[in-house]
Amino acid sequence: MIGLIAFIGGFGAFLIAAVALVRRSERRLGTGLPTASPPARLGTEGQAEISAYLDRMTTELRLPAADVAEVRAELADHLYDSIASLEAEGFDPESAVREALGRLGPPAELGRLLRAAHQSTRRLLAGAGGGVFAAGGGFVLGYLGGVVLALLGFLALLAVGSVLALVGVRLLDIAPQDGGNTINSLLYVAAFAMAVATATRYAVRTSAGLSRRAPRTVAVFWAVAGAIVFGWLALFGMRGPQSWPSVALELCIPLVAVASAFFRIDRPMPHVGRWAVIVTALTVVVISLGFFAVTGSSTSVSEESAPVLCSVSDQSSSCQPDFGFDTVAPMAPAAWLPEGTFSGGGWGSDPASGGTRVNDTMGSQGLPSWTDLQYEAWHALPVDELGPGGVDTHYSTPFAVQPAALNGNSLSAVFHFERLRDAVHWWIFLTGVGPDGHRYRMGDGRGGQSNFNGSAWDWLTAPQ
């Protein structure tokens, strides 16, 4: 409990520090001080000469707006003081202006020296470090914001579905029948894209302010760095549900990083107020609780909670309808599989590999006259109001086969459905070659549901 409190406290402190750093750095990118108005005694010509000098110097500065304004204000102040002193020493106004400007040296040279003074190596390192820190905070905040937006989008979709239902169109008939995989993966990638955009903008604005460089100057570095780091993360690092639309969007993540580094980068970040954060957080909690309260009892998309429809030893009435099992292979004659050949079995997740482990426990007599025992995974139909489920008879071959490994009196195999693109609903059978040399299935198998779980690269290189 103390660890959890420390974690939440530390995480909150990190986010607050990141936002504070961004805001502090952004002050350098604002408009800054106005230049002091020239004294009334200065003639129009003198004012024009000073203004031209400052303008020429400013073109060489190439600093953030607040720094430019400060330097101009400071130098204008200095020039007005110098001119007043020189006039007190006996210079006429025109000569005083020329002398004061001459003492500061050529404006372009002064601008270059001031730029070099401001853009020191120390500030460059501070900008790089601060940019990375701000990017970390921006990524987390952007992800949370993306989750909120994705949930709001999902609610909007539900509202549209309700309206369409009134006119007789079922949204579920239009949506892909993949156990919610497409929608989940799109929500996931939308939140990720939002996180990437926020992180890149935070990095650019923070490092520009800290290193005293114009945002567009440092944006080139952060665009390249963001495209590489977040592109790598999108392709290989972020694991979760995937679908073709989400993978296509994940491949565009480098473009998101580049666009967010440059698009309207000179404008301040839209900072969210404290109350907006509190209200949004409460809304997310309420929506989430309501969502799980409504759907939690009836919907299951994870592998562990998927219903097991039948097992080898299951002879209940639920297995009576025609599930198309003969598509797999004919049932082994009862004489070759006497009562007690199998004493138990089932399936579950394999902690070591993250796959799905299926196993059967044999009785003491074993299977002496059977050879080539293997587990076959077949595409299955979803169990819903349209039908009882069972093997999808559109397929004539299994989509995955694993040899049954004998360990003591137990047969087992591990399937990696989470790495297959279209293994949503499946049915696994134990089959073997009987004494007559033909393959038979040894029971009615077991069914379940899995969703793809991996990176975009895993999806693209999946063996199907």
Partner: protein
Amino acid sequence: MSRTDVASEGSARLARERERVLEALDGEALSVPAILRRMAERSTGGEAGAEHGAEASDQSLLYPALHSLEADWKLQARWLSDANGVRRVYRKRRLLPR
């Protein structure tokens, strides 16, 4: 004289100007006119007064020196308002408040 020689000569002049600014400040918060006065006093009061007096009219390195010292965390600057308007004052940065 090669370009490298010019650059190193420029760096040496800037380094000298930085030292003069630090000597002039000496723990006080001063505006630029006050810093210039202090530097002129030190120059004319010293043995090499004539030589430094010639440099007193050259202020081309004063602001680069001040701003680079501020960027290096050796000086801190802030805007103060007085009877003459808003003015930027500089002081040496200290680790601990006095």
